[in-house]
Amino acid sequence: MSELRFESVSVHYGHRRTGHLAVDDVSLTVPSGKVVGLVGESGSGKSTLASTAVGLVDATSGTISLDGVDVRRLRRRDRGLQMVFQDPYSSLDPRMSIGESIAEAMPRGTDRRAEVARLLELVHLDPDRATALPARLSGGQRQRVALARALAGRPEVVIADEITSALDVSVQGAVLNLVRDLQRRLGLSMLFISHDLAVVRYVSDRIAVMRGGRIVEEGEADQVLARPRHDYTRELLEAY
């Protein structure tokens, strides 16, 4: 069980004066064992925020901590923080079998073969497919493998960045069900990012709305949806 906390995080891209502020003084907490949904339009800074947590992007200011410890002081492998990405077609190395991809993230000293089989079963894939190359899998299956790879690192916090937006609607449901199921069974803390409010609503306990690099509203999912306080949230809701 872990709590992920962003404190006054800002990310500035490009030149000091001409660049732009992708994330503007964001504070957000993902409570232990809860799912926080982050909605916003493209360019609102939600993916950048996610990238700072896993160290793919450096925050210009502010801190990100896991159970009170600054993530930069934790070694990546021991952080207990994993991420699943948007595009199922680029999220797996085309030259590695899915088993190898999953095993790569495992802590040292794991029985890799058994663990790969266990994880594949966990995401409802046949363990015999561990030797298959990603090219043989459909988009939905690839996202399950990506989930399995994230779980291989024994994370306590998972960040899911638009993981269903590249999938067809008839496939999306299965992945969402799986995410919810895994989150509950493993007691994961999760930051679930999507531009689709209905998808976010379905998986999240809390909802944060992001716009122009800022979080404009954050609260219990039901409250945000039933009694939105910010105009932008209302506008988003009206679109449905």
Binding site: S90, D93, M96, A105, G153, V169, S170, H195, Y240
Partner: protein, 625 residues
């Protein structure tokens, strides 16, 4: 490895592979076989031209040039390969370094490579030839270092494109180190293009070497390679051409062997198998039982086929519908359902090698096929999915709108521009922005400009293919409202294609649901959530989460995935995923049949239910009387 064998099976690949093997054979054995003859001085036969004894003549010491050319293969090829290996190796290291070095050091390396790469190889080679001194070692190093910058650049570009992929990010998040990411993930994925380019580089190293030797700053006497023989022969080319042409041909053939092999490899490894185009796609019987209504657009049994590697593939397989005046008709379906292709086909935009057939395809009562461009250009408007890419980036928005009127309405450039500004105003884009380029517009504004472009004429039908998919939700609404307004003000019909049911539901009067290249259900939008009958439609509606979805229940799921156009088999294409499917569904494809006025379904099970319901009501009615 299997893929490389496939290269050798293409005609060009095979020919060049044979040539390369021949060269390798010569390089290995020629010095052993003919080394003596090549060095034999014959003072009776100095500087001879071509003769039976000496097909390529003799040199200043009477040595046979043919033998010398053959023997020189080893040195020529050997040096070229050596230079390539050193050059490519240096280049790859330089190109990969920025990925592992600290950021500032990486920048320095990149900047140095960027400067060096601007200079042509020959110039670099001359420079290094001066530094290393004339001679074999100098030339090898010169050519190697001349190759290195372009390989460094290539490695950088390839590495950068691979590094942007999420599996690299995923590996880094998992704690895989930079060096290990480079070795495990990056290099294996860039190896193939690097090898191909190294083959091409070997060809150019060979000719470059010949060039240096020819200039007298490569191989020095008494050693000799083709370039040196060529240089010696050239001095007396006016007397006898053979001594120069012999080594020249050798250089060209060897260079070509490397180049062609590289090209063949690039073609085979870089592309999918070429489509096979035999005859014409098979015609098919109509798939609707009733000759339904007509309208602005009338489509009957529309089919679109493309040649694939195993014969014709038909992603649109017999689609029939009509769009009436002032009506907004939505087409929903997942990717691969054929909805976008249907839109392109009805607007005559499917290009060779695609083949469009239809029993009827009429716009404003006339076959689309024969309608003049002028008429289609002014009365049929198209809006495409991605407003970022649908405008020509090198031309001003205004001129892209104006050319419609210049072309089809005979307007002067000035009048057309005026009209363009006016149309932009009508979609709430300030008229003076006509001067701007597409990249200066926001996404939503570009999509409105695209609609304005359709309004340059007097459109009777707007075909909008996923017009809001690339836009943010809040922007989506204004684009949809704009389409609605055009319909209201001008009685224009709209065909709206979308994968998003909620978009269709909010905007359209009628919905066509497509699956695997067919319409499986057609019904009024108002009945979508209440009266949809096809199992696919109902499953799709259940699978999409809405703001009312019960969060305590798992989402409804459709097992499996939609079929690819090439794998459509007998029976109902939805049968493998359908909970209701029976043997008939798997054997025989259903026909789109009316179940009520304005409601058509293509499903055996629905038809059966319908029939039994009718029988039941008839029976119960019979009972009461």
């Amino acid at each position: 490895m299997r893929r490389w064998l496939a290269v050798a099976r293409t005609p060009v690949g095979a020919a060049s592979a044979v040539l390369l093997l021949l060269l390798a054979g010569l390089a290995l054995f020629a010095p052993l076989l003919w080394g003596e003859q090549a060095g034999a001085i014959d003072t009776d036969a100095l500087q001879q031209g071509s003769s039976a004894a000496h097909p390529l003549g003799t040199d200043a010491l009477g040595r046979d040039i043919l033998h010398r050319v053959l023997v020189a293969t080893r040195l020529t090829i050997g040096l070229a390969l050596l230079a390539t290996v050193v050059g490519v190796g240096t280049g790859v290291v330089l190109g990969a370094l920025p990925a592992v070095l600290p950021r500032w050091a990486g920048r320095v390396v990149t900047a140095a490579v960027n400067i060096a790469v601007a200079f042509p190889g020959l110039l670099l080679a001359l420079f290094f030839a001066v530094v290393f001194g004339t001679g074999t070692t100098g030339a090898v190093l010169a050519i190697a270092f001349a190759l290195a910058p372009s390989f460094a650049r290539l490695t950088q570009t390839l590495t950068a494109s691979v590094s942007g992929r999420s599996y690299i990010a995923a590996a880094r998040v998992s704690g895989v180190g930079r060096f290990r990411v480079l070795v495990r993930h990056v290099l294996p994925n860039v190896a193939e293009p690097l090898v191909i380019n190294a083959t091409l580089a070997a060809g150019s190293a060979l000719t470059a070497f010949a060039g240096l030797s020819f200039l007298g700053i490569g191989v020095q006497a008494p050693s000799y390679d083709w370039g040196r023989l060529l240089g010696e022969g050239l001095n007396r080319i006016y007397v006898s051409p053979a001594p120069a042409l012999g080594p020249a041909v050798a250089v060209v053939v060897a260079g070509l062997a490397f180049n062609l092999f590289g090209e063949a490899a690039a073609a085979v490894l870089g592309h999918r198998p070429p489509p096979v185009r035999r005859g014409r796609p098979a015609p098919a019987p109509s798939t609707v039982d009733d000759v339904a209504d007509e309208g602005v657009l009338t489509v009957r049994n529309l089919r679109v086929s493309f040649p694939g590697p195993d014969g014709w593939v038909t992603p649109v397989r017999g689609v029939s519908f009509a769009v009436r005046e002032a009506e907004v008709v939505g087409v929903v379906g997942e990717s691969g359902s054929g909805k976008s292709l249907t839109a392109l086909a009805v607007s005559r935009l499917v290009e060779h090698p695609g083949v469009v057939t239809a029993d009827r395809l009429e716009f404003l009562g006339k076959p689309v096929e024969g309608t003049p461009d002028r008429e289609l250009g002014t009365s049929l408007a198209m809006v495409f999915q991605d407003p970022m890419t649908s405008f020509n980036p090198t031309r001003r928005i205004g001129s892209q709108l104006a050319e419609v009127s210049e072309q089809h309405q005979g307007m002067s450039r000035k009048d057309a521009w005026q009209r363009a500004a006016d149309r932009l105003e009508s979609v709430r884009v300030p008229g003076q922005r006509a001067k701007q380029y597409p990249h200066e517009f926001s996404g939503g504004m570009r999509q409105r400009a695209m609609i304005a472009m359709g309004l340059m004429g007097d459109p009777r039908l707007v075909i909008a293919d996923e017009p809001t998919t690339a836009l943010d939700v809040t922007v989506q609404r204004e684009v949809l409202r704009l389409l609605g307004r055009i319909r209201d003000e001008r009685s224009t019909a709209v065909l709206l294609i979308s994968h998003d049911i909620s978009v269709v539901q909010r905007t359209c009067d009628r919905v066509l649901v497509m699956y695997a290249g067919r319409i499986v259900e057609e019904l009024p939008t108002a009945e979508l959530f209440t009266a949809a009958r096809h199992p696919y439609t109902t499953a799709l509606l259940a699978a999409v989460p809405t703001l009312e979805t019960d969060r305590d229940q798992p989402l409804a799921v459709i097992p499996g995935r939609p079929p690819e156009p090439a794998e459509v088999v007998a029976g109902c294409p939805f049968a493998p995923r359908c909970p209701l499917a029976d043997d008939r569904c798997r054997a025989e494809e259903p026909v789109l049949t009316a179940v009520e006025a304005g409601h058509r379904v293509s499903c055996w099970r629905v038809e059966e239910q319908q029939r039994s319901a009718l029988a039941e009501s008839a029976g119960s009615r019979g009972g009461t009387t």
